[in-house]
């Protein structure tokens, strides 16, 4: 107990300067505990991010050889619908006629297709408003006022280049990253 008393005297003497020897160990201990506690958050937070098997399924190959002119198919990319459409000459012409500056999300058809394949329009089938699947890809579905896609949830109309023309959606249907692995197969993602 003698040491205890001595330590106490020392502390109270130092306290008069406003700095105590014990401050250092307080800061060191609480700092270590704080860093340790905060780093525990890393696994707890990142475990909710997509796991490796989900990330591994993030590319999709689509065979486009069977798509006839004017026809569209639905594929699945990241568990979301993917629209692949082969445009008719009339649709391409109609899309190129539009004054790009007048669009809500200005883009030309050429910017939305790959060089050498101006007739192949690959977009996500996810309305940019709130995520419904627009109509128009399947046979017999309404294609909206502008001959492209029409989202029935809140009435967004997309034109033949899948650009937003009317309704609440803020953006054109998203064109995902893709490349031609051969003349007849594209790899999305």
């Amino acid at each position: 107990m003698a040491t205890d008393t001595a330590a106490t005297t020392e502390v109270s003497a130092a306290a008069e300067d406003g700095v105590r020897r014990r401050d250092w160990i307080h800061i060191a201990a609480l700092g270590t505990a704080g860093v340790g506690g905060a780093s525990v958050l890393i696994p707890l937070v990142s475990q909710m991010a997509p796991s490796q098997d989900v990330l591994a399924a993030s590319t999709t190959d689509v065979d486009i050889s069977a798509i006839a002119e004017g026809q569209a198919i639905k594929a699945v990319f990241r568990k979301q619908p993917l629209f692949v459409r082969r445009l008719t000459a009339a649709e391409i012409e109609e899309a190129n006629k539009v004054d790009v500056a007048s669009l809500r999300d200005p883009q030309t058809l050429a910017e939305r297709t790959k060089e050498g394949h101006p007739d192949l329009l690959v977009t996500m089938g996810v309305c940019t408003h709130l995520g419904c699947v627009p109509l128009g890809a399947a046979e017999g579905e309404t294609r909206g006022d502008f001959g492209g896609y029409f989202c029935p949830c809140h009435g967004s109309h997309y034109d033949s280049a899948a650009r937003i023309r009317k309704g609440p959606a803020p953006k054109n249907l998203m064109v995902p990253d893709y490349e031609f692995t051969s003349d007849t197969v594209i790899r999305v993602g």
């Binding site: 008393t5 696994p43 490796q52 098997d53």
Partner: protein
């Protein structure tokens, strides 16, 4: 609750005053684990394990809730989802290893906590209720741990479920219907897996509830201490914060180092390789043992190899299977009457020479033997050793403790905790005047009690 000299919570800012009027949660914390809880000044490191047990309960709940986000309790996919957690989920391996080893650490600290209670007789009046609630927590922990071990749906999971539910089959007349009812089938399958998952998720929150009762009951008489002498005066205590928050914090740091060493370097050391083989109802692993924390009780279960019969008649009174089950459950249920078996008025083992001999040379070696035999194969010499140890285990509690408390001459107790710590206590020399001595505050022992803040 608490002592007259306990510091009172005084909100400083307008906001804390407002909170204190509407919902005095800061006051509750202050009185429970803050400066408002006076604790005996002489607690040793054995008193760390309650806080550590609470910490591991939180670890298990946090990692468990996270694992449940990725696990599916379906016999067809359960094993695969555990592998999914190990391989695909970000940090899934760490979370699962933390959960599996967290269970082991939870039991390690709980066993230390219980042995502290045995040696210092923490179960004696006025703390019987704390002890009883603690035994309830321990039983809930065992149930939770067992059901959690079934969830990975490996070979050990499956056969553990088969064997443990088989214990209920030993109950006379209704045993087999009960076993079928518990499993929801004739062998562990999807129904059993699903209900075990559901209960494994539920029970930790029940444990948390009983822990709150346990701490509430603790705060009525206050913590015990290594002398077993009750707190008499202010100089016997120090505020929980900063004294024991710092001491518990240090202990927590040491345990976390050990825990991290297990999780990162020896994650499977306490597990069984067989549990990485998917459950197969047609093949039992050659050497089937429970998790290490059940070994002593498993040894008691297996110690009963013969039926209890009336000699020379061949009439079986109690079959061996039932005897083992009764003994195994009885070995823990016995703790419920422990406060009334040990009648010695002296609490601490330090002042009980005879008790201490039987504790260190009787109970502890017995537990060690039972622990070892529980993990060993069911063959000689382990069976005989288990039988001897089981016999002593029950004798210790039912015969030795009551007799010791009658015949033992305890060593003289210190007058107070202060005297035990400082070697002298002024209030013992000069009988107290009945009022607080104002001149006392400036003296050295009192001054040493001032918190550093």
């Amino acid at each position: 609750m608490s002592f007259a000299w306990a510091k009172q919570y005084e909100p400083q800012s307008a906001f804390t005053k407002w909170i204190d009027e509407k919902l005095p949660l800061p006051r509750l914390v202050y009185n429970a684990v803050g400066a408002g809880y006076p604790v005996p000044r002489n607690l040793n490191y054995m008193w760390n394990f309650g806080v550590l047990a609470g910490f591991f309960l939180v670890v298990q709940i946090v990692t468990g809730v996270v694992l449940a986000m990725h696990y599916a309790a379906n016999g067809l996919v359960a094993f695969a989802t555990v592998e999914h957690i190990m391989r695909d989920v970000n940090y899934g391996w760490m979370l699962r290893y933390a959960h599996a080893n967290g269970a082991s650490f939870f039991f390690i600290v709980i066993y230390m906590h219980i042995f502290r209670g045995f040696f210092y007789s923490s179960y004696k009046a006025p703390r019987e209720m704390i002890w009883l609630l603690g035994v309830v927590i321990f039983l809930l922990m065992m149930a939770t741990a067992f059901m959690g071990y079934v969830l990975p749906w490996g070979q050990m999971s499956f056969w553990g479920a088969q064997v443990i539910t088989g214990l209920f089959g030993a109950i006379p007349l209704v045993g087999e219907p009960i076993q079928v009812w518990i499993l929801g089938g004739y062998a562990p399958d999807n129904a059993a897996l699903n209900r075990f998952f559901s209960l494994h998720f539920l029970l930790p929150f029940v444990i948390a509830g009983v822990v709150i009762l346990h701490i509430w009951a603790l705060h009525i008489p206050g913590s015990s201490n290594p002398t077993g002498v009750e707190v008499k005066q202010e100089s016997d205590t120090v505020p929980f914060h900063p004294y024991y928050t710092a001491k518990d914090g240090f202990g927590l740091g040491v345990v976390l180092i050990l825990f991290a060493a297990m999780v990162f370097f020896l994650p499977n050391a306490l597990g069984h390789p067989d549990n990485y083989i998917e459950a197969n109802p047609l093949s039992t692993p050659a050497h089937i043992v429970p998790e290490w924390y059940f070994w002593p009780f498993y040894a008691i279960l297996r110690a009963f190899t013969g039926d209890l019969t009336i000699p020379f008649t061949g009439i079986v009174l109690v079959p061996a299977k039932l005897l083992g089950v009764i003994a195994m459950f009885g070995s823990i249920l016995l703790w419920f009457i422990l406060p009334w078996l040990d009648k010695s008025p002296v609490r601490s083992g330090h002042y009980r020479p005879l008790f201490r001999k039987f504790f260190w040379f009787g109970l502890i070696p017995t537990m060690a033997v039972l622990f070892y035999c529980g993990g060993a194969p069911a063959e000689e010499p382990y069976v005989v050793l288990s039988q001897v140890a089981t016999a002593y285990y029950f004798l210790h509690f039912l015969v030795v403790l009551p007799i010791i408390s009658q015949i033992e001459v305890p060593k003289p107790l210190p007058f107070s905790i202060t005297e035990a710590v400082l070697g002298k206590d002024k209030t013992a020399e000069a009988p107290r005047a009945g009022s607080v001595d104002g001149g006392d505050t400036g003296t050295a022992p009192e001054g040493s009690l001032q918190p550093a803040e």
